[in-house]
Amino acid sequence: MQWLHAFAFTLLETCRDVLPIAGTIIGFQVLVIRKPLINPRKTLVGFVYVLLGIALFLKGLDMALFPIGDLMAKQLTDPEFIGINPALREVPWEAYLWVYVFAASIGFATTLAEPALIAVALKAQEISGGAIQALGLRLAVSIGVAVGISLGTFRIVSGLELYHFIIAGYIIVLIQTAFAPKLIIGLAYDSGGVTTSTVTVPLVTALGLGLASTVPGRNPLLDGFGLIAFASLFPIIAVLGYAQISEWKNRKKQKTANRKS
């Protein structure tokens, strides 16, 4: 019974979050477009599925993933586990090796399950006529997030400046943009924004705050931020890179084919 209560609450919250979107759509549909929807019942049922789906998803995350994610972030960053003396003022960054590994694996895994990314990947596959595979795109993005978050945790431990990394990342993106196939650019830029939503943000934030409050000399309020920025920048690099590699491979294949014929 209690469980049902909690679920009803989550469902209500989701409805509240969707309200502005539904209001905008209905308002414009009725006042500006003034045409009935082609298949109103099917669309409506679809909306109900989305609402129910998100509410169940959030409730499940709250029950299963977030508590254990929080706990693991705490355990892994615990000075006792790391084996350092908390009174030290500086610690070697290598001491946190498991944290970087965990950051990379959890970043990879949560991004694969990110609903917004699944949506964009499905759309991209449909529009490109299968030239872009949904799973391939999701894997590329997940690798980007894994590298990004792991670098981000390294930055928190080492205390280096956030903007150095971000600006270096931008410069890499700029160079890649000049050479990448034009078809992929919009999708690559978009993939930066979609990776960080429902699943990834809370887990990554817990990890960042855990680190910033246990690493000697770091302030959780100032150093806890920045992981999300890493997680939105590196997927762009990964997707552009993925496109460049597949183009390069295709060209090579064509060359050998040409030579044979």
Partner: protein, 246 residues
């Protein structure tokens, strides 16, 4: 026959979702068993929760293809047929602003930012001042996302190349980083990632792709994507600007 087909499809989708979730389970299990080596409590909750996630993801994807994608595309087509750029832009702005202003992740980040600002003596350390600061931040991020979708839609209509706009944006961010107060930079960079929620992304993507495929001379693959990119770029600028002004 039809019934069997639908339930088959549902089962297949359920399996797919389980497959999507598998990596998380593996990571958590491996780390618990081999690295942390501590018992997990509440195993029941974890199992029930995982089942809920799988079911939720399956329903979401079903609803996506049946509700969110079609409505985004239908609206894009209707606006294109109507030919009123003005109303399309108003719609784009309301969609961006409306979906962001109530975004729970943004509310959390804004509250944290207010705390930092109070600690760094940028604002008075009172509840009132902090609430005002957090609210101002939320409004500026929401405005920036509304603005981003407007620019993005205009870009699709006019056929401007995406990368010039994005590169200009990046240069702007780099320049602003030099002048913005240190405390705000981390929050500003993060705010780009938190604005795009699970419902906004499919809707906005469908809108962009729908527009690009109904306007002559546009390619949905080249021109349809990019709206989300704007929506994650402008908040960084607006938040830094907010930090500089206050």
């Amino acid at each position: 026959m039809r019934m069997a087909n639908t339930s088959n499809k549902f089962l297949r989708n359920l399996l797919n979702s389980l497959f999507d979730l598998l990596p998380i389970l593996v990571v958590v299990l491996v780390f618990q068993l081999f690295v942390i080596q501590q018992p997990i409590d509440n195993v029941e909750d974890i199992i029930v929760g995982t089942l809920l996630i799988v079911l939720g993801l399956t329903l979401f994807i079903q609803g996506l293809e049946q509700g969110l994608f079609p409505i985004g595309e239908t609206m894009a087509h209707s606006f294109a047929r109507k030919g009123s750029v003005f109303w399309l832009l108003v719609f784009a702005f309301s969609l961006g602003f409306g979906t962001t202003v109530a975004e729970p992740a943004l509310i959390a980040v804004a509250d944290e930012a207010a705390e930092i600002a109070a600690l760094g003596n940028m604002i008075e350390d009172t509840n009132n001042a902090r609430e005002k600061y957090a609210f101002g931040l939320r409004i500026s991020v929401a405005l920036s996302v509304g603005f981003a979708i407007v620019i993005g839609v205009l870009r699709i209509i006019r056929g401007w190349p995406l990368h010039y706009l994005i590169i200009t944006g990046y240069c702007g961010i780099m320049l602003m980083t030099i002048f913005a107060p240190d405390e705000i930079i981390g929050i500003a960079y993060d705010s780009g990632g938190v604005t795009t929620s699970t419902i906004t992304v499919p809707l906005v993507t469908a809108l962009g792709v729908g527009l690009a495929s109904s306007i002559k001379g546009r390619n949905p693959m080249v021109d349809g994507f990019g709206l989300i990119a704007f929506a994650s770029l402008t908040p960084m600028m607006f938040v830094m600007a907010y930090g500089m002004l206050i």
